[in-house]
């Protein structure tokens, strides 16, 4: 059965209109980032006529310390990802492969906390970090990110670990290996795709995290990119060219990861999980 040409045209027209609405704002942002010394709102016609240049990008990186903040964000995000994957996979492995008393009850308590909105915990979390003496340290931030995210990572990985065939463990047991060897030599290598997807989500969420970082980090030189961006906006509220150049510096790593691993985002994993509940 062939769909008639005018139906096809209408469908393509709607899809294209959707793409325009989605992309146009970003296109306009990129064009604005080429406008230098914009102390008043630039005219749309001037923006579309602008010649691409990197002046604002250089200014953001050199005069406004975005190079430094970028490295801070890399450090904060990198350690968070590694910690979340390592400790999350350990916990998920425990839940997936060990029988123990109270397992499902414990897991239900874990799941219950997922329903509690993050903003509700932010004040008491701050007091916990304060009593540990970790305000204004990356350690405090890492603890909140990794500890607070344990349930999500465990929940996500447990299903994948349970799908690993148990017979594979036998070879390790015959060689005299214990549960740690099974974890390292069987479960981790076989779950790399799931771990990869999780790594990307963790990266994306941590890279953009603003509110926790703002409450924990006080020293200017240790700030992360989202905070730096907010401060830049406060300082040069009308210099849109500079603000969007800095914004694009913030977005670039996420876009690169998105392009490189687009299949993980739009084709596999969590979508299927959703259907199966």
């Amino acid at each position: 059965m062939k769909t008639r040409w005018y139906w096809q045209t209408i469908v393509y027209a709607i899809l294209t209109a959707g793409v325009l609405v989605t992309i146009l704002p970003f296109f306009y942002m990129v064009m604005t980032s080429f406008v230098t010394q914009a102390f008043v709102l630039p005219r749309p016609t001037d923006i579309l006529a602008v010649r691409p240049n990197l002046d604002n990008y250089v200014s953001a990186l050199q005069n406004n310390n975005f190079g430094r903040y970028f490295l801070n964000s890399v450090l904060v995000t990198g350690v968070t990802m590694a910690g979340a994957l390592f400790f999350g996979s350990l916990t998920a492995y425990g839940f997936a492969r060990f029988p123990f008393w109270g397992k499902e009850t414990l897991f239900k308590i874990f799941l219950f906390t997922l329903m509690v909105p993050a903003v509700l915990n932010i004040v008491p979390q701050f007091t916990v970090i304060k009593s540990l003496g970790l305000v204004d340290t990356y350690a405090g931030l890492w603890l909140l990110y990794i500890g607070g995210g344990m349930v999500g990572t465990t929940f996500f990985l447990r299903g994948f670990f349970e799908a690993v065939p148990k017979e594979l463990e036998e070879s390790v047991v015959i060689d005299g290996g214990g549960s740690w060897t099974i974890y390292r030599n069987i479960y981790i290598p076989l779950s790399l795709p799931a771990l990869g997807t999780l790594a990307i989500f963790s990266f994306q969420a941590t890279w953009d995290e603003y509110f926790t970082a703002l409450t924990i980090l006080k020293t200017e030189s240790s700030r992360t990119l989202p905070i730096a961006l907010q401060l830049l906006f406060g300082k040069y509220a009308s210099d849109w060219g500079l603000i969007f150049a800095a914004s694009i510096i913030v977005l670039l790593p996420v876009i690169i990861v998105y392009m490189a691993f687009q299949k993980r985002f739009v084709q596999s994993g969590f979508g299927e999980g959703a259907v199966k509940g």
Binding site: T3, V11, Y12, L15, V19, T22, I23, F26, M29, T32, L41, P44, F87, G88, L90, T91, Y93, G94, F95, F98, F100, W101, L106, I109, T113, M115, V116, P117, V119, L120, N121, I122, V123, P124, Q125, V128, K130, L144, I146, G147, M150, V151, D208, Y210, F211, P226, Q230, W240, F244, S247, V250, L251, V254, F265, V266, G271, A274, V275, K276, G277
Partner: protein, 302 residues
Amino acid sequence: MNKRLKLELQRWLAVLPYIAWGIIGTSVFVIYPMVKGIWMSFLDYKIMPGAESPFVGLDNYRKAFRSEFFWYAVRNTFLNTIVTVPLIMAVGLFLAVLVNLKFVKAKVAWRMVYYFPVITSWIVISYLFKYLFAGGEFGLVNYIFHVKLGWLPEPVNWLQNQWSGLVIIWTLHVFKTFGWAFIIYIAALQGIPQTLYEAAAIDGANGWRLFRNITLPLMKPVTIYVFINAVIGAFNIFPHVYFITGGGPLGRTQVLPVLIYKEAFDKFEFGYSAALAVMMGLTIFAITYYQQRKIGKYSVEY
């Protein structure tokens, strides 16, 4: 009995090195803060070391019910949910069905574009929308709809009025999240076996009838999933309001999460902030608990 106890103990000792991380992390940084938050909501909490935090019973809750700013935040939080959730679901499903049509080419490319706003940053998109909706003739939205098309009789001062401010916030919310619903829906659509359509087509069904009698019923479980997550997302509306209007003018565009944050970290009203948080948490819990339980049991069967 004793033997049994010993066995359970051994099992716990075996698993503890693995799950201890999750238990400690969740207890210290999620469960304890939650319990402490509830307790704080009954105190006039002082963050200064050594200062006393007297127990004030339900005073913080009473204060909320008497505050007009609280009611604006409640109104806007519910409004945001009522306006954006149906839009996100409708746009997501509509585009997913179109992209999933047999003759549509370059399916991955469409997906990548529609999902793009989801992966970008809340802060950046917030500034971008603030810029697009800038007042005067040169804000892009005013420029297109006033100068070029003439649909708006005069340039709108979007950020100065409560309703136009809310419109920006809703638009941004839909713009940033419809791609998520779209991706979930398209994964579900592709899970429907082609044989079902073929069988129905042999029976003479086509187009709209195939969609209504096969696609829609099979989309039900995933729709519930999308719905719950969209509702939770809409209730947790946070960064864009914070960055675009900050709740202004005069708290008229305020939403609960931002109010909670500002009462705590701008005004140091920790007890009051905690009381607001507890009420919001209970509301979300009431809405989602029942549905969340059902979700676990739902699955598509062909």
